[in-house]
């Protein structure tokens, strides 16, 4: 999973089955100090994350399907799986 910051969202009424009635977030990956690092990705929200939240983004199909287990979920790979409260660097 990757640390990221939710920088926006996508509204989409026409999509394949598993993406219908799902919130799609735009996530900017960040390094442990919070600085943007890498390209933004889209992910399905599974934890009611909002813009500005620091989140955990999961990028693997089988894991995604443990979270989103419904018809057509075979097409899901990116999921926001957690909202981060704090990152403690040792």
């Amino acid at each position: 999973m990757k640390l990221g910051k939710v920088i926006g969202n996508v509204v989409s009424t026409i999509s394949v089955e598993a993406y219908k009635s799902r919130k799609i977030l735009v996530v900017q990956p960040i390094d442990p100090t919070g600085k943007a690092s890498g390209k933004s990705v889209l992910a399905i929200d599974a934890v009611q994350a909002g813009v500005g939240d620091i989140v955990l983004t999961l990028e693997e199909g089988n894991s995604a399907r443990q979270i989103i287990n419904e018809p057509g979920a075979g097409t899901v790979k990116h999921v926001v799986a957690g909202i981060v409260d704090s990152v403690n660097l040792k």
Binding site: K5, I7, G8, N9, V10, V11, S12, T13, I14, S15, V16, E17, Y19, I24, V26, Q28, K39, S40, V41, L42, A43, I44, V51, G52, G61, P71, G72, G74, T75, V76, K77, H78
Partner: protein, 91 residues
């Protein structure tokens, strides 16, 4: 999953059988500010995305499952059309 803009269509008469009947669109990946980012790719479309439309696509095995019934060998497929894209520039 990435944002992309549909910039064209690809027609192949000679192709593997399991591609039969599938629409192949040319997609230019774009970043959250809609600027082109990376090389164009060919993605299967099952939701009638049109030229110029902003879409989002997924790659690898997940793309092969856009048809409920049969797997297809595609490694990129359009998953939906973007109606609105909201980006908070202050973040």
């Amino acid at each position: 999953m990435k944002l992309g803009r549909v910039i064209g269509r690809v027609v192949c008469t000679k192709k593997v059988d399991s591609f039969e009947g599938l629409k192949l669109l040319l997609v230019q990946p774009v970043d959250e500010n809609r600027n082109p980012q990376g090389d164009a790719l060919v993605a299967v479309d099952t939701i009638q995305s049109g030229p110029g439309e902003l879409v989002y696509y997924e790659t690898s095995k997940e793309a092969g499952r856009v048809l409920e019934t049969t797997m297809n060998p595609a490694d990129a497929a359009i998953m939906g059309i973007v109606d609105e894209l909201f980006i908070d520039k202050s973040l």
